[in-house]
């Protein structure tokens, strides 16, 4: 059947191209209805409690996600409090109010906040803090004094050192943050001067990241392709031939993305990474073919014959690598995280298409080329052995075969060090840190959080059990909340907190003639109520209801954090819970968390930890596949070695260098699945074939050094160098991609070329055995196999505890099952296949 497939492609290349062209056009047409989803919150289902609650809290307290615009003046001795800067701020505020999508009414700026203060003797005044720009320095300083004296503004709207002030720009929806920030930037242009302007805030970081991610994809993927192209050209010295993997990769990416978009899946941050995953996988498949084609062409001088021969030799390893990779990615979608599911399924689909492309596309392409094109193409066996590269390969090859004990000892050492590193790994994430340190958003984040109480918001929402009792007017209750605020402030992670208690104290203080003895919660409930009703006589009485519901049964405590790190948020949450435990509330109440910083912690935790579990699960599934393919659990384990060492080393490296295990790392770990096993499969399959031919490992290994070794190293070089440009991307996840490609290629190839031959030299029987249908009859095999299956089943059960089944997960489980069956039956093919090709 396989012969027929190749022959068909060779004889009717135009039909193959026509079909693929039609499919490509169809796929591209799908992009017309592309939906882009840059909201990382969608990592959680719409109906997750935290999201529903966040929405409810926002609505109930009239809260909005906001962008923070910081104005910093380091040059003036009074900081931002000089008439020039304040006039700019005043005019800016006015400009920003008019931007589409900005909730002008809730904008927080010195220029639209009401203040309560002392007027003439015995008089209390509600006056706008800055209803017009000040004329004199003296007026500016008055504004400063008042702003610093108001707990609602201090450290929120103006910094302690008065060098910075902030404008909080509430926006209708998170996904317009980037657009709004662009509008703000254009408004800022005429206001340059002594002031520095900074824009940050979680919604902006998230939205900007989503947008820039796509831009980076547009730059990085083609850039990597170009580098890869030139590297391959250097290896194979044949433009047309080298175009194959590039064309194939593009084709596969377009078809996969087109299919995804066509089926109505939005392109999420996660799935925007699909091209970056498929590209190396396609290149990997085709370089093995090109490499062999390059080395065998000189023998026959017939391109069609050579390509048929090469494809047959590589049929089994290519099929096996594709199947294992597909199974690995399908099993990623067992995760109850919608975008990860889509990602897993479509990478797997892409891998399948890549395999089809190697079978149809490559022979069709080759058959269309003219024989004259290949005049000086390829190398003879003798030329092969002569090169420096070859001598190097033979050198390390022989070393591993002879000194396998040294290699294995080294491996054990590396694994040991890696485990130590893994024990040090820090799980943490913060969307702002997805930007490189020099990125404007990151710079703004650092500057503003050094001046203010914090640009990251979280809310603790308290519900009184007795709904009708207006519990949050009770002095004891307000004092309790104030106690919690003080406690959190002392702990250090919360830079600023604001609650109804602060408003009450401030109003009380001002009503009592600004006497410090009265900077406190009044003693009786009516006194609290009367202070608050006095506050309602201000220009913005609604401000009260950002902090409490009109029936006083629900209170909102606003926490500002200087860092959006999950670890920081988790610590604040823990501190709060400890406070509740140690200090029982005077009235029965429950509490819940809300705010973007909190939501991020939830989804990132789920994502990061979930991906870790998924990865372990996929590992087991891939092991299962390998076992079935190789018909030996032991061989399966051996084949997993390079990947295992790679993963351990990468994680160990992260732990040792202090790089945090965050979402990009979690996602990219999955790349190892797609790339690291492939080398091992190629190695084992080729070793087996050569062993069959030569009859012993010594001779077989000598052949290995030249053919498969060369292909593997070429692959490693092409991909690790090809993705090096990503290191200069301003987005950290792209740097991470670059790092991962580099580390995976280095370790997986080294693992394959050093560890596998060392293991085989130590005990050739591990892989050189007669595959048998009855392999499960041996007791140890059976035992190991049961363990593997039990592991796989346990993983699926764990992944689905409490999670709902959906189409993606059903499809994934079904596909993995189907692939297992395919694996098992395909492994039968090998015997007849090998017999045929070796003849």
């Amino acid at each position: 059947m396989f012969d027929k497939m190749i022959n068909f492609a060779l004889r009717r290349p135009k039909v193959v191209f026509a079909i693929s062209a039609v499919l490509t056009v169809l796929a591209m047409a799908q992009f017309l209805r592309v939906k882009i989803d840059t909201d990382p919150e969608n990592m959680l289902r719409e109906n997750e409690f935290v999201r529903v609650f966040h929405k409810e809290v926002k609505k109930e307290f009239g809260l909005y996600d906001y962008i923070v615009l910081g104005v910093v003046n380091e040059k003036d001795k009074d900081g931002v409090f000089n008439p020039r800067t304040l006039e700019k701020v005043y005019n800016l505020t006015d400009g920003i109010r008019k931007i589409d999508g900005v909730i002008a009414y809730e904008l927080m700026s010195l220029a639209n906040k009401d203040d309560i203060r002392q007027g003439d003797v015995g008089e209390v005044v509600f006056k706008w803090l800055m209803d017009k720009p000040p004329y004199s320095q003296e007026d500016a300083l008055k504004i400063k004094e008042r702003a610093l004296a108001n707990p609602m503004f201090y450290n929120t709207l103006i910094s302690e050192d008065a060098k910075a002030l902030a404008i909080y720009v509430p926006i209708k929806e998170k996904n317009i943050s980037y657009k709004v920030s662009k509008s703000i930037q254009s408004i800022l242009k005429p206001y340059k001067g002594d002031e520095q302007y900074y824009l940050t805030g979680l919604p902006l970081a998230e939205d900007a990241f989503g947008k820039e991610m796509f831009v980076q994809m547009g730059i990085s993927a083609p850039l990597a392709m170009i580098v890869i192209f030139f590297l391959m050209l250097w290896f194979f010295k044949h433009v047309n031939l080298v175009l194959i993997p590039i064309a194939m990769a593009m084709n596969v990416v377009i078809l996969t993305m087109g299919l995804m978009v066509g089926l109505g899946f939005p392109i999420h941050i996660m799935s925007s990474m699909i091209p970056i995953f498929l590209l190396p996988i396609c290149v990997l498949d085709s370089i093995h073919i090109l490499s062999d084609f390059f080395e065998n062409y000189a023998q026959t001088r017939n391109k069609n014959k050579t390509i048929t021969h090469v494809l047959k030799t590589l049929f089994i390893p290519n099929l096996f690598t594709s199947i294992t990779t597909m199974a690995g990615f399908f099993s990623l979608s067992f995760a109850p995280i919608p975008p990860v599911q889509a990602f897993g399924v479509f990478v797997a689909v892409g891998v399948g298409m890549a395999w089809l492309a190697t079978v149809f596309f490559i022979p069709a392409y080759v058959s269309l080329m003219k024989e004259e094109n290949f005049k000086n193409f390829g190398v003879t066996h003798e030329e092969l052995k002569a090169g420096l590269f070859s001598r190097f390969l033979v050198g390390i090859g022989r070393f591993t075969v002879r000194r396998w004990r040294v290699v294995l000892a080294g491996t054990v050492l590396i694994i040991g060090v890696s485990f130590y590193g893994i024990s040090k790994i820090q799980i943490n994430d913060n969307p702002t840190k997805w930007f490189a340190k020099r990125h404007p958003i990151r710079v703004a984040d650092i500057v503003l959080n050094s001046h203010f109480g914090g640009t990251y918001s979280a809310y603790v929402v308290f519900d009184a059990n007795d709904k009708g009792a207006e519990v949050f007017k009770e002095p004891a209750m307000l004092s309790y909340i104030a106690g919690l605020q003080e406690y959190l402030q002392k702990k250090g992670d919360v830079g600023k907190s604001t609650s109804l208690a602060d408003i009450t104290k401030k109003v009380h203080f001002e009503l009592m003639g600004a006497d410090n003895a009265y900077y406190s919660i009044p003693k009786t409930k009516p006194a609290v109520a009367q202070c608050l009703l006095s506050f309602e006589n201000s220009h913005k009485p609604d401000d009260l209801y950002h902090f409490v519901t009109p029936d006083y049964s629900r209170l909102n405590l606003w926490l500002q954090l200087r860092s959006g790190d999950n670890q920081v948020m988790a610590r604040v949450q823990k501190d709060t819970e400890r406070f509740f435990k140690e200090n029982p509330a005077p009235y029965a109440l429950t509490h819940n968390w809300s705010g973007l910083t909190y939501i991020n912690m939830v989804w990132q935790d789920r994502m990061v930890v979930g991906m870790l579990w998924n990865f372990i699960g996929s590992f087991i599934i891939v092991l299962l596949m390998m076992t079935l393919l190789l018909r030996s659990v032991l061989a399966g384990l051996v084949a997993m070695m390079p990947m295992t060492v790679t993963v351990l080393f990468i994680y160990g490296f992260l732990g040792l260098t202090g790089k945090e295990y965050d979402m990009p790392v979690a996602v990219l770990s999955a790349l190892t699945l797609g790339l690291a096993v492939d080398f091992a499969i190629h190695f084992i399959e080729r070793a087996k074939a050569l062993y069959r031919e030569k009859g012993n490992w010594q001779e077989a290994s000598e052949e290995m050094f030249l053919g498969p070794y060369r292909a593997i190293l070429r692959n490693a070089l092409v991909i690790s160098i090809g993705f090096l440009p990503l290191f200069v991307s301003p987005l950290v996840p792209y740097n991470t991609v670059g790092f991962f490609m580099f580390a995976i290629m280095l370790f997986a190839s080294m693992g394959t070329l050093l560890i596998l031959p060392a293991i085989v030299s130590a005990h050739p029987g591990v892989i050189f055995y007669e595959p048998s249908n009855k392999f499960l009859r041996s007791c140890p095999q059976c035992l190991l196999m049961s363990l593997v299956i039990a592991g796989a089943v346990a993983y699926i059960l764990v992944a689905y505890t409490g999670a709902k089944w959906n189409v993606a997960s059903l499809a994934a489980v079904f596909s993995v099952g189907a692939l297992s069956v395919v694996c098992f039956s395909v492994s039968k093919l090998r015997k007849c296949f090998l017999n045929k090709t070796t003849k």
Partner: protein, 271 residues
């Protein structure tokens, strides 16, 4: 005077509520100047009778449909035929603010004097009234809606009129003092009750509406019985009903002093 010929309107009084006006062009249809319309509307709204009382019941409904209530007695006293007035406001509801009260001395041409009494703190404080465009007790009415905006503060232009309404456009003389750029008022041609006012912000966008929902004749005075203020920015609105409105009840001026804040005039403020 013209006002006197129109059925003694000058003597009549109302309180609470909106609209004022001044300066302006003459209108051929009505043969009445824009300033006259503004002045009459102001009188109908705030100056009818020598004095008066009412019980105001406000329901504030926010954008989410949550409601808060306020109930207060309002006493008013005119100082002769001048623009000077005294107000006394006593809160009955919410229960925990019962007894909170205000005295306002409304002056012509200068800032009002305002005193606040908080019974729970036994505290009388002067409250600055330099800016009268702050909320009245958390409702969507402003202080200026309650005690009246002086017609001298705006330029008035009669932009349109038909058989039902004079339509005035009022532009503040000092734009820096207020948050609106102009407001339009629909004044009933029959009794000069300002039936609706629309406020436009600095961008020329409508953001606030105050409208009269019900007018009653009480002791021969056209009297606003129910009105509504809507804030289009926040989506909140307040409906105020005026119960037990009576005019010329013989209030004495000394009620409107600091002393009476601590000892409210029970006779007049009862529910």
């Amino acid at each position: 005077m013209v006002l006197r010929e129109k059925g003694g309107i000058v003597k009549k009084i109302g309180f609470l509520l909106v609209m004022f006006l001044g300066v302006g062009l003459t209108n051929s249809y009505a043969q009445i100047s824009s300033d006259e319309v503004a002045e009459k509307a102001s009188h109908v709204s705030y100056y009818q009778g020598k004095d008066g009382r009412s019980l105001a019941h406000m329901v504030i409904t926010d954008a989410q449909g949550r409601t808060r209530e306020r109930k207060m007695a309002i006493l008013r006293f005119n100082i002769g035929e001048t623009q000077e007035q005294r107000y006394y406001v006593y809160f009955h509801m919410p229960a925990d603010v019962k007894g909170m009260s205000y005295v306002v001395w409304k002056h012509a041409g200068r800032d009002d004097d305002r005193w606040l009494y908080l019974p729970a703190l036994d505290l009388v404080r002067r409250v600055a009234a330099s800016d009268k465009r702050s909320s009245f007790a958390g409702s969507n009415f402003l202080y200026e809606d309650v005690s009246g905006r002086s017609v001298d503060l705006d330029k008035h232009e009669l932009v349109d009129s038909d058989e039902s309404f004079y339509i005035l456009e009022n532009t503040p003389k000092d734009a820096g003092q207020v948050e609106f750029s102009f407001f339009k008022v629909w004044v009933d041609v029959k009794n000069f009750v300002p039936m609706k006012a629309e406020y436009y912000n600095k961008e020329g966008k409508l953001y606030r509406i105050v409208e009269v929902l019900e007018v009653k004749d009480i002791q021969g005075y056209p009297t606003i019985a129910k009105m509504k203020a809507s804030d289009l920015n926040s989506g909140a609105q307040t409906v105020a009903e005026f119960l037990d409105v009576t005019y010329d009840i013989g209030l004495s001026e000394d009620i409107f002093t600091e002393r009476y804040l601590r000892n409210p005039p029970r006779q007049w403020i009862k529910e």
